[in-house]
Symmetry: C2
Amino acid sequence: MKTRDRILHTSLRLFNEMGEPSVTTLFIADELDISPGNLYYHFKSKTDILEELFQQFEECMYSILIVPESEMDIEDLWFYLHLIFENIAKFQFLYKDLVTIMAKYPQFEKRFQKILNTKRKASISVLENARKNERLHASTDEIEALTEQIILTTTFWLSYSSVREGQVADDALARGVYQVMSVVAPFLEPERRAMINGLKDAYL
Amino acid sequence: MKTRDRILHTSLRLFNEMGEPSVTTLFIADELDISPGNLYYHFKSKTDILEELFQQFEECMYSILIVPESEMDIEDLWFYLHLIFENIAKFQFLYKDLVTIMAKYPQFEKRFQKILNTKRKASISVLENARKNERLHASTDEIEALTEQIILTTTFWLSYSSVREGQVADDALARGVYQVMSVVAPFLEPERRAMINGLKDAYL
DNA sequence: GTCTATATTTAGATAGAC
DNA sequence: GTCTATCTAAATATAGAC
């Protein structure tokens, strides 16, 4: 593995473990047993490391978001949410210090907003489709509020876990998926609603 | 107004407006047209300013949280959520950079967790009570998930607004209250549910 | 209580030898 | 590509005069 890639890899791990504001360039270099000068040979600034990681994040997220929309069932939703949450967990440093990072690196703000908007559109599309197929019973206002709730929960679930328990627990992802499903459940037919409530015993 | 109080007052305003990480002691002093030395005469460190503001926050929050529990109706909930959200907005700097601040000032972590736990207990108590009175139709698991959802939403609604729109809009509070109500609505009787959905037209 | 001037610390970044 | 040594800038904090 080349030094440049090791820097990216270790930076991501340290950011996720300790929070981006606590990780200095010197610390990254120490962790890799290389000199600060060497690190700055490969990246001209800390911002450049962030920029490359943010690009990776964007690519991962969009590759997930282009897939679905029309032919998604509730079982697919469960699986799909896992994909989203895994990607969020992979770049959790972005989410945990979201407001701080957006203030410190304003070049990311519009791009993150665009991802949120894409997610909102995907969510509304899936829910409207489920309504057409009579699997979801909700008004347009309810679908809008439900979408806000889904995006808010996916975005801040790891922050919430981390503040609540002082760290992100092993089952935080599964709990996040369950939590989002529990928001959708009340609008489903009784049998599907029971299925979601049953997921708690099966997975948590 | 004494200098010490002016420092607290202006610090809170600047933290809320710009985010705690962006506000230096020098900037606070400049804003007040006093010298840094004067600021450090009144507070021996930036942490001391934070400590006093956090205490104010705790007192405000607990004074709201001891009140209710048993005899609260859905109309009261609407009013009560406004109180909570107003207090959160008053100390929004804490919420917007929550994870960052908890990492930088670890002495606040347990105390914030205690507030979250108190809120959770209050929420469960109110919901269980509503179930007893047959105004809420939900299982114990559903009440638990609903409570998580309510706490998550109140805690991160301002962060979400701020990231989504680049700032906290004027109607962010009202939208937050509506959003929480919309999470509870599906578990209510049709007439109360319709009332909550009607709140959108009335207030937003 | 308040000021000016300065010290301390630390993170980010560069220069130049190897 | 990598190292050592060093620089700069910014933020926190202190000393001592008034």
